[in-house]
């Protein structure tokens, strides 16, 4: 794959709707050719606005967007050649599946037999061959979704944008569609910019994820990095489950810091954003990184009281009161070794300081 690292480039893009509030602030983002990148963030974080600017339905207030090296701010949407899958599919309800797929080809004046071939190919790609003459209204949600994906891909666009395309599907269907879209992306190598507020979706599908909050990209990295090493407490909180301790750094030595908690007690943590003694911090720890009855090597070991036990099938969620934090969550695999988890019991909890990330205090 000829990898152009800056196939899509947002350069210092600002966007404001009312002249008072910036919805997108100084966005700099490079998307490589063939990459599957997800813009993830809570609603109102500016991710959809970014997508709309890329599609051409909104203009940047400042800055420029480049597609394959060319600035595109002055190109109208229909000349950008970007495919788009909309939140509610936006299938044309008065056209058959075939006509929906043929629409982008017909406006490009492609000969009839070639249109037939491309439509056939696109439909079999989403395993909907034989549905040509159906109306969108006669299809199930999942099928409509696939038609929408096929329609966005049928004219071989360089970039495909997807705006929360799975939001209207039920859980099982959503999961199977995630894999399907991922496989389609892998097989045809198109650049995909995907917008969602569902972190599970983002983690499953993407090459890289841009976490948006407050009009800014908080972190841009691969799913595993995002999960394992969030760079600030917003990302840590937003991605996955998280135990937090608020406190103050009282010592930093050898890449390890000592934090005095507001609720009392002291823990060791991995200093990420904190540099020196006296800084306020929030320590973030993934629930699965804390173990019951830790071995000697772990440098954090504390006693906690079980306050709630929730059975989840493959694992059990345990809520503990630990170091004055009664929201401490523990995920325990359901095995015969963990039978002493009973409400009210006191157990030993331990973790490595490298897994406890001391981040900004927010």
């Amino acid at each position: 794959m000829p990898n152009n690292k800056e196939f899509v480039k947002f350069a210092k893009v600002d966007k404001s709707y009312d002249g008072k509030v910036l919805v997108v602030k100084d966005l700099n983002l490079d998307i490589a050719e063939g990459e599957f990148i997800t813009m993830l963030g809570p609603s109102g974080s500016g991710k959809t606005t970014c997508l709309m600017m890329l599609a051409g339905f909104e203009t940047p207030t400042n800055g420029e967007i480049y597609l394959d090296g060319n600035p595109i701010s002055n190109i109208p949407p229909h000349k950008r050649g970007i495919g788009m899958v909309f939140q509610n599919y936006a299938l044309f309800p008065h056209m058959t599946v075939y006509e929906n797929l043929a629409f982008p080809l017909r406006v490009r004046k492609i000969p009839k037999d070639e249109i037939d071939k491309k439509v056939d190919k696109a439909l079999s790609m989403v395993s909907l061959a034989g549905y040509e003459s159906r109306m969108p209204g006669q299809l199930s949600g999942g099928q409509q979704q696939r038609v929408a994906v096929a329609r966005a891909l049928v004219f071989d666009p360089a970039v495909v944008l997807m705006d929360e395309p799975l939001g209207a599907l039920d859980k099982n269907l959503r999961e199977s569609m995630q894999y399907e879209i991922k496989h389609i992306h892998e097989s045809i190598g198109v650049t995909v910019v995907y917008v969602t507020h569902d972190q599970g979706e983002a983690l499953t599908m993407s090459n890289r994820i841009a976490v948006f909050n407050d009009g800014k990209v908080q972190q841009l990295s691969s799913p595993d990095q995002l999960y394992e090493s969030p760079v600030n407490s917003f990302v840590a909180k937003f991605i996955g489950e998280n135990n937090t301790f608020a406190g103050e750094v009282i010592d930093v030595t050898n890449g390890k810091c000592k934090v005095k908690l507001n609720s009392g007690g002291e823990i060791f943590a991995n200093p990420i954003t904190v540099k020196s003694k006296g800084e306020k911090t929030t320590v973030s720890l993934r629930p699965e990184r804390a173990l019951i009855n830790p071995d000697e090597k772990m440098d954090n070991s504390h006693k906690g009281k079980i306050e709630e036990v929730i059975y989840h099938g493959d694992h059990t969620r345990v809520r503990l009161n630990l170091l004055g934090n009664n929201e401490f969550i523990l995920k325990v695999p359901n095995s015969s070794a963990n039978l002493d988890i009973k409400l009210g019991n006191e157990i030993n909890i331990g973790w490595n300081s490298t897994d406890a990330r001391a981040l900004d205090p927010k």
């Binding site: 599609a55 051409g56 339905f57 109208p76 949407p77 229909h78 000349k79 950008r80 050649g81 970007i82 495919g83 788009m84 909309f86 939140q87 509610n88 936006a90 299938l91 044309f92 309800p93 008065h94 629409f103 982008p104 406006v107 490009r108 329609r151 966005a152 004219f155 944008l161």
Partner: protein, 420 residues
């Protein structure tokens, strides 16, 4: 046997269908009682009057009852040569009875409508009967034909025979400037008396163009209404509806103030130098006035159904059209416009049907060249008192509306029409 055994039973052993009917019966009765008042109202105010109008428009029983014996004896007459003695005899008997009841005038009036000249000769016969000059033992044929040469003219006897059936389509034919001629065929009235056909065509023309104007003006407004943010669209909606809430008469009168020769619009034209002061254009008491006023008055009927349809069209569809490579025009024409067709159908149907039967506005601002068929109907209702003719034209109008509805059903499909 199989149908017996296959019948599904409830747990109590009653056939399921029967049980369901029983359970539903109460609801059905309730529902029927709820719609009953409306149903009665419709029957009393709509079905009966239309039935009454229809019988009135084709009714020709009066003369049938006046000349029962004559018509009976005429049955065997072929209408070629002069009728036989028995026809004359029966005509004399019938006419004498009418004279006794003082109803001969009505007969003369009715027959005169059929053919000019009856009035004079029947008056003559009446005087003879009054003076007992007719010898009831002699030949009626000889005596009557000698009264006036027209009694000897076979055309007049044919005219009587034509009035025999108790029903007549004459009013409908008259509504289309046609009549039944001496030979019983359908012929056109003289050219200078063909007023109705002009009125029908003008009514259709004005209704058609008013619909077109309403569509051209209403479509962008409805689109704006459907896409503007709530606070602006509410204001605009009030602007659209405000005329709707004003009395029709007031609105028409205000158009008269605006459009008259010394009116505001003409004053403005003179002011900006578009026309000279002594050459102010006529904008009222002609078609222009009718077009302008009717378009304004009927506009909400176009905007509202269009708006309600456009409101349901997701803006992402237009975006999808554009992102797939369609120019804004292609996206509009291929995606947005087809989706608004149900609204266009409803709006045009409403406006056209209302326009085709419009009365007050053309009566006030239409003048001679801007009046419509409904004004003619009103004229016959109020001035000539020819109610059967007014009924016939009213029914023709109704038929026209039903035809339009049928065409729309074929083109758009009534199920697709959305009224809001």
């Amino acid at each position: 046997m199989s149908s017996e055994t296959n019948k599904i039973l409830t747990t109590d052993g009653i056939p399921l269908e029967e049980s369901l009917k029983k359970a539903e019966r109460k609801n059905k009765i309730k529902a029927f009682l709820l719609v009953c008042p409306l149903l009665l109202f419709l029957i009393i105010t709509y079905v009966f009057p239309i039935g009454e109008m229809f019988t009135r428009s084709i009714d020709d029983k009066m003369i049938t009852n006046m000349l029962p014996n004559t018509f009976k004896s005429m049955e065997s007459w072929d209408g070629q040569d002069m009728p036989e003695e028995s026809v004359f005899e029966n005509f004399y008997i019938d006419f004498k009875k009418l004279v006794e009841n003082k109803e001969h005038g009505k007969l003369a009036q009715r027959l005169n409508k059929e053919k000019n000249g009856f009035n004079t000769i029947l008056k003559k016969l009446f005087r003879q009967i009054q003076r007992n000059k007719i010898d009831e033992n002699g030949s009626f044929k000889e005596q009557i034909t000698s009264l006036h040469k027209r009694f000897n003219d076979v055309e007049y006897w044919r005219a009587i025979k034509r009035t025999a059936p108790p029903y007549t389509m004459a009013k409908y034919l008259k509504g289309m400037d046609l009549f039944i001629d001496e030979n019983g065929g359908i012929a056109q009235v003289e050219e200078d008396r063909r007023i109705h056909r002009i009125l029908w065509l003008r009514t259709l023309e004005i209704a058609f163009f008013v619909t077109v104007f309403c569509f051209l003006m209403g479509y962008p407004i409805a689109h704006l209404l459907a896409t503007l943010p709530m606070k602006y669209s509410n204001l605009l909606m009030i602007c659209v509806l405000l005329p709707f809430w004003t009395s029709l008469l007031v609105r028409t009168a205000s158009w008269m103030i605006l459009l008259q020769q010394q009116g505001i619009v003409n004053d403005f034209f003179v002011m900006i130098g578009l026309v000279s002061d002594d050459n102010r254009p006529e904008m009222m008491y002609n078609k222009v006035g009718t077009y302008v006023a009717m378009t304004q008055i009927l506009l909400p009927f176009m905007v509202l159904p269009l708006y309600s349809v456009m409101k349901t069209i997701s803006p992402s569809l237009m975006r999808a059209g554009k992102s797939l490579g369609g120019t804004p025009f292609v996206a509009f024409w291929k995606v947005y416009f087809p989706l608004t067709i149900p609204g266009i159908g409803a709006g045009c149907l409403l406006v056209f049907i209302l326009a085709i039967g419009y009365y007050i506005t053309p009566a006030l601002v239409g003048g001679a060249s801007g009046t419509l068929i409904s004004n003619q109907i009103a004229y016959h209702m109020k001035t000539t008192l020819d109610w059967s003719f007014a009924s016939a034209m009213g029914l023709m109008l109704l038929t026209g509306v039903l035809v339009v509805y049928w065409i729309y059903n074929k083109l758009v499909g009534v199920d697709n029409i959305k009224l809001g």
